[in-house]
């Protein structure tokens, strides 16, 4: 047994209202730079929908992730080492920028500096790639709220497994939002695809990162990731991806997307797992067994044998403690309501989702029945074949049972707590129907519905003795060398040593605060704000008296 700790996330889809605050704050913190204009480390998709980049889930086309060979071994779907090197001069499975969208800006000067004239000035959209006028035809969430999806949704790879008739019916009955970040997989196919060995999984917390100094721009990681969550910075020629806001996590702050989530639907915490058993679990024969296999890889942080093994691996005491209090462990292993996104890619993803119950409740309520009655809800879950199959296509490789079990627990919680609130009666039979106890249900209710900040985010800090290395603690003054402190190197903006995240953000913030006029009106950097104290300048308009 080799115990490793993994920082992971669970998102409660029932609470997602699709406001895109996570996407916007993430973009402002990480990808508001040239070269990554089209990049959203965090994006929110409306499902059914074709996602971002378009149709990324169609692995027959993109060949991301792993597949199991006849002899029971795992191999990269796009081909192993020899195939990768043979195709190194032209990556055959690389999405083009049009598969994401062509980034653009508007000619704001036309509005700001237009002289008085008879016609209202227009800010034309300009391509950020060519500078030419362009017609905007697609973007990261073009089909938001099913907009235009009568034309595009049929291209949803999940729906394509279902019939055309089903697709139409689905749109009328069911819609939900799916926020996505990098999965920080236990068996990451992007890391395996990197010819340079520049991508790695951090030993301490399992965060998957790109070493910007070692990346040589072969782009195999972009193709290798089935979630298409590694992006190519077309300016620097290097891969970039969601960092799980490691500079924040290291000092105990939640990621920017979690911190700013309006619905408070994100949970962050540790999971202990057995690294020796990952490969075997990822190569089980039946895709439907992958969910259980991955759960089996996770270790019980209360088991004395696990604790001893964790100590032997050098995992600090406060990390073991954090693993025991982890909301992730509770949601995945104890309440078993969270499910992984596309386990059939065999990468062992570590951002899990609690499937949405609200559409089921809506159907029951719309029919005039009591939407909080446990029997009505159970019957609806059993009967609503279309949404169940769609959710199963996302979360369980098509196996409806685990989705139904998860939704029934959510339904039971809903009914049970309604009775508690209305009449102070604790109907144990509701809890028993889903193999739980009333006490457990109330615990789960506390975590899911009350969702206190400290319950949602259990983040052990990196250790003080390592603090010298941490990015976030860095003061901009003690960084020296490299051209990053001002201007670009001799080979253009992509050259020279990388600037520490904290320094980069310090300068960005300073520039914004001291500029006469904001270069990009209304932009605020939230990376350095921990939610306490004065909000960053520009977040709210100035008071009228000022």
């Amino acid at each position: 047994m080799k115990v490793m700790a993994q920082m992971s996330m669970v998102m409660n889809l029932d609470k997602c209202i699709g406001c895109h605050t996570c996407s916007v704050t993430c973009k402002q913190a990480w990808t508001n730079r040239t070269g990554v204009e089209y990049v959203w480390f965090n994006n929110v998709e409306t499902r059914p929908g074709i996602g971002y980049p378009r149709g990324y889930e169609d692995q027959e086309k993109w060949k991301g992730g792993w597949e199991r060979t006849k002899r029971g071994r795992l191999k990269l779907k796009a081909g192993g080492r020899f195939s990768k090197i043979a195709h190194i001069f032209s990556n055959p499975k690389l999405p083009e920028i049009q598969d994401y969208y062509e980034p653009w800006t508007y000619e704001y000067d036309m509005l700001l500096n237009s002289p008085a004239s008879a016609n209202i000035p227009v800010a034309k959209p300009k391509s950020l790639l060519t500078g030419d006028d362009m017609a905007i035809k697609w973007s990261a969430n073009w089909d938001d709220n099913l907009g235009g999806s009568q034309e595009t949704a049929s291209a949803d790879p999940i729906l394509q497994h279902m019939s055309e008739h089903v697709a139409m019916e689905f749109e009328q009955t069911f819609m939900f939002y799916l926020p996505r970040i990098c999965e920080h997989c236990l068996n990451p196919s992007c890391v395996a695809s990197c010819p340079s060995g520049a991508m790695y999984k951090r030993v301490e917390d399992g965060i998957v990162l790109v070493d910007q100094d070692a990346c040589r721009g072969w782009r195999m990681c972009v193709s290798g990731c089935p979630y298409k969550k590694v992006y190519f910075n077309h300016k620097t020629g290097k891969a970039e991806k969601c960092t799980l806001c490691y500079p924040r996590l290291e000092v105990g702050l939640p990621t920017v997307c979690s911190e700013t989530c309006v619905g408070r639907l994100r949970y962050l915490g540790l999971v202990l797992y057995d690294a020796d058993r990952v490969a075997a679990a990822a190569s089980v024969e039946n895709e439907h067994d992958l969910l259980e296999a991955q759960r089996d890889v996770f270790l019980d942080p209360h088991d004395p044998a696990v604790i001893a093994a964790a100590r032997a691996e050098g995992i600090p005491e406060d990390w073991i403690d954090a693993a025991q209090r982890s909301p992730i462990h509770k949601l995945i292993q104890e309440y078993r309501v969270a499910l992984p996104l596309h386990p059939e890619y065999r990468t062992m993803p570590m951002v899990w989702y609690i499937p949405p119950l609200s559409p089921v409740v809506d159907v029951v309520a719309d029919s005039g029945a009591d939407g909080e009655d446990v029997r009505n809800l159970f019957a609806a879950i059993d009967k609503l074949r279309i949404p169940m199959e769609y959710l199963a296509g996302l979360f369980t490789a098509g196996d409806v049972d685990p989705v139904a079990r998860s939704l029934k627990r959510l339904a039971a919680m809903r009914s049970y707590m309604r009775d508690v609130n209305l009449s102070e009666t604790r109907n144990e039979h509701i809890a028993e129907a889903v193999d739980m106890t009333g006490a457990k249900i109330e615990e789960m209710y506390r975590l899911l519905a009350i969702a206190k900040y400290d319950d949602r985010y259990v983040i052990p800090t990196a250790h003080v003795e390592q603090a010298r290395e941490l990015e976030e603690i860095a003061c901009s003054l003690d960084y020296e060398g490299g051209p990053g402190m001002g201007g670009a190197g001799p080979f253009g903006s992509s050259s020279g040593q990388p600037v520490p995240v904290a320094v980069e953000n310090f300068h960005v913030l300073k520039n914004r605060q001291t500029a006469d006029r904001p270069s990009t009106p209304g932009r605020v950097n939230l990376l350095n704000w921990d939610g306490n104290g004065t909000p960053p300048t520009g977040m709210f308009p100035p008071k009228s008296s000022e």
């Binding site: 080492r81 190194i88 060519t130 072969w218 992509s494």
Partner: protein, 255 residues
Amino acid sequence: MSPLDVLLWVAFPYAAFAVFVLGHIWRYRYDKFGWTTRSSQTYENRLLRWGSPMFHLGILFVLAGHVVGLLIPAEWLEAIGVDEHIYHIGATVLGSAAALLTIAGLIILIYRRRSIGPVFLATTRMDKTMYVFLGATILFGTVATVMYQVLGPGYEYRGTVSPWLRSLIFLQPEPELMAGVPLAFQLHVLCATALFALWPFTRLVHVFSAPVGYFFRPYIVYRSRDAGRSNRPTRRGWEPVATPQDAKKAAKARR
């Protein structure tokens, strides 16, 4: 032997070689972040899909041909039964095929670079300079081959150019060998030498990133946070307490 001969065939190659080696060391130490292929495939794939493999495979064949023709003495090849006639036919046929592939690929790539808007905008001044020298080198090499090897009776460069290059390698330069070489060959050599001097300052550095290590490493790479990989160098005087041995080890890991 004129001073110009010494300048062109001794001083210039050695200077270019020194710039090549030192330039790469300097670039690697100073600009690892800029060390990339600078791929433009996300902008355009239809032309690249053909042009890039054609050019790269072609130029690899060309490289192999140059190794055989320049570095291996003619006598060695004769010893294993490859006489002048066989060599000449082999070199001309294979060389022309490789040149055709390379030039066709290069034409596609240059056309793409000029005509596709985003690709053209992503082209730096250094890229353009490099293209001039790379194109000129390939052009003069092809002209020399066509003029002397394909249409002409065949020029025996293994009696002049090859020994000259080896004389440079063994630090016994013999510039007089190059003095009488036909102009097309001379220009090819000079352009190539200049290209080598430019090399470390262009995107051509990606040649030295050929991912050979990929065949020998495990698929999943793990790396520790405190392996000293932080991109923040320790300030002088602020090194943590450590034995001299540990400090050396940490410095090594950081590199």
